[in-house]
């Protein structure tokens, strides 16, 4: 196994041996990886320009330590989001016992490689072992840095999975059809209510696939189907809409939501938000753009004082080469 350079961020990492992040550091070091730790969000962002890590492991709640980055407004998920916006190829894993609905959905929508629950009453598995297993899998994946200029040519067809339990008052089939009429005029829309039917039909001719359910409570039974459906991406991208408040509420739905996050749909929409329809519209716009295999976000302006710019003037000179250097002064004179 290739040794990886790993950075673990946890505000309580220097406060006692029982912390799962410390156990994770020991476990990953035993596995042969080069592990560094930090208790501050600002350290992660400051390290971006000068230190290389294969994997960032981030805690969500960072309120235990005083930091230049305000932990009442930001969390490990914010840091993951900034990392992802800066580079689509970073490996980012959330390792946390906390986190709220926003964190879970944000992890999916920024394509984090995993969201692992540290442990506790919602998860019987040992979080550290689960993390170690996940890192092992990641170490075996060869990153494909290809950025293809070829476009994805699809037919004007959309496949919708709309489970009968989907809260119609939050998103109705008519709402969805109206959005599609606006963004994909004339699209042929096929609606299915069974997962097996989606699995049978999905292929690269679809512009996209939209899947709605109140909560996929039966996810333990359907995980394989869902993974198989999601594995078709990015031909086409798949957007999943669920209601985080369904049943006993968001805390009770944590495992189901995190299972979906870790199955990696292109986007995950929480139907339990006032702007769900608008959010869906934006997600469809993003899904119809062609990024190759990695969604590319706009370069982040947030916290730029920490991470700076990726290139220096020297880089620019080296990239252009002396002969290609054209002169502003000459243009000025010619004007």
């Amino acid at each position: 196994m290739k040794p990886l350079r790993i950075l673990i961020m946890d505000d309580e990492i220097y406060r006692g041996d029982n912390n799962p992040s410390i156990q994770a550091e020991e476990r990953l070091t035993e596995m042969g990886h080069l592990v560094e730790t930090t208790e501050k969000m600002s350290d992660v962002l400051s390290s971006i320009k000068n230190r290389y890590y294969d994997i960032y492991i981030l805690d969500v709640d960072m309120s235990f330590v005083d930091d230049e980055i305000d932990s009442s407004k930001n969390s490990g998920t914010t840091i993951g989001k900034v990392l992802r916006e800066r580079n689509s190829f970073y490996n980012i894993i959330i390792f946390s016992a906390r986190g709220r609905v926003w964190d879970w959905f944000s992890a999916a929508n920024h394509h984090f490689q995993g969201y692992i629950y540290k442990g506790g009453s919602y998860n019987e598995d040992d979080g550290v072992e689960k993390l170690a297993e996940h890192i092992k899998e990641l170490s075996e994946v060869k990153i494909d840095y290809t950025l293809s200029m070829d476009k994805y040519h699809y037919e004007n067809k959309v496949l919708i999975y709309y489970h009968p339990d989907t809260p119609v008052e939050k998103i109705s089939l008519d709402n969805i059809r109206n959005i599609l009429d606006e963004l994909l005029p004339g699209a042929e829309v096929e609606v299915r209510t069974k997962l097996a039917e989606v699995k049978e039909r999905i292929n690269s001719n679809y512009a996209l696939v939209l899947m709605f359910h109140s909560m996929f409570q039966d996810i333990t039974k359907t995980t394989e189907d869902i993974k198989e459906i999601f594995s078709n991406q990015p031909f086409p991208h798949i957007i999943v809409g669920i209601d985080s408040s369904s049943g006993w509420g968001e805390e009770a739905n944590r495992n189901t939501i995190l299972n979906l996050v870790n199955a990696h749909p292109f986007k995950m929409l929480d139907l339990n938000q006032p702007a769900a329809e608008n959010e869906l519209r934006q997600m469809i716009v993003a899904a119809l753009k062609w990024y190759g295999k990695h969604e590319i976000f706009e370069y982040p302006n947030e916290f730029q004082n920490f991470y700076g710019y990726p290139l220096t003037d020297d880089d620019l000179e080296a990239i252009k080469g002396a002969e290609d250097y054209y002169d502003d002064i000459e243009e000025d004179i010619e004007d």
């Binding site: 950025l147 062609w290 880089d315 620019l316 054209y326």
Partner: protein, 261 residues
């Protein structure tokens, strides 16, 4: 009603280089203007594969510190991804696969590139260029208004570079001939469409424009055909009406390429 003219803009590699300047934190008017052009001419941009390959090689294959390669690559990739986004996603550029460009009969872009690369420019053209550069040097030398030490240093370096270029001139060097010949073939095969090569290289612009207006591609292609084994009857007719009136080489400030409203 004004008729919408069909057109395509082929990007030269230096346009992509210039876009990277934004990721040093220094986005001057030139970068902003290029981004505006790309936005306003969205879906009419062509990026030849050769240009993308040349750009990628300049980005990833030189100038790295051996001891810190992983971080160096990571920083370069961060900027590269954003240029890719600007070109491929925001400007919805099309990828021009040069090798798949139809040959004009048996003449492909590489044959034409070899011909173009070996062109001898006329004495008149060389004299004119020489005079233009001498004039620029003189104007730079004559600038006597008060300057900061930094500006004065830049002025001296500029004069030195110009003098160097006078001794070591350049016309269509490196990949220029190949990019230009691909654009020629593309323009010849899309005569209903205006084709622009957008470049920041003043030598390329001047030399390629000169070639466009002074070299008869009809003759050039016919001479290649006559030397080829595949010379079939009818080839002459096939290239008889070839003209290059629809190909222009433009700078980002040229009005031809000004952002449309």
């Amino acid at each position: 009603m004004k008729k919408q003219v069909d057109y395509k803009i082929i990007l030269d590699t230096n346009i992509l280089y210039e876009l990277t300047r934004r990721y040093t934190g220094f986005a001057d008017g030139k970068v902003i203007h290029i981004e505006r052009i790309l936005r306003n001419h969205c879906a009419n941009i062509l990026v030849p594969d050769l240009v993308w390959a040349e750009f990628s090689a300049a980005f990833f294959q030189k100038g790295f510190p051996y001891e810190d390669y992983a971080k160096w690559y990571d920083n370069r990739l961060t900027a590269f991804i954003q240029v890719y986004r600007t070109i491929n996603i925001d400007a919805k550029a099309e990828y021009l696969r040069i090798a798949n460009l139809n040959s004009i009969k048996s003449v492909d872009y590489l044959e034409l590139a070899r011909e173009i690369a070996a062109i001898k420019f006329s004495e008149d053209y060389i004299k004119k260029e020489n005079a233009r550069m001498l004039n620029i040097i003189k104007e730079a030398q004559d600038r006597t208004e008060p300057k900061s030490a930094q500006e004065e240093k830049q002025r001296c370096e500029f004069i030195e570079r110009q003098e160097h270029q006078l001794r070591k001139g350049k016309l269509l060097d490196g990949m220029d001939a190949q990019i230009f010949s691909a654009a020629v073939l593309y323009a010849l095969q899309n005569r209903e469409r205006n084709v622009y090569i957008l470049t920041l290289d003043k030598f390329f612009k001047s030399a390629a424009s000169h070639v466009c207006s002074h070299i008869c591609f009809y003759d050039k292609i016919c001479s290649l055909l006559s030397s080829s084994n595949n010379n079939e009857a009818g080839d002459k007719e096939a290239v008889d009406s070839l003209s290059l009136s629809n190909l222009r080489i433009v700078n980002i400030w040229d009005s031809l390429i000004s952002p449309v409203a």
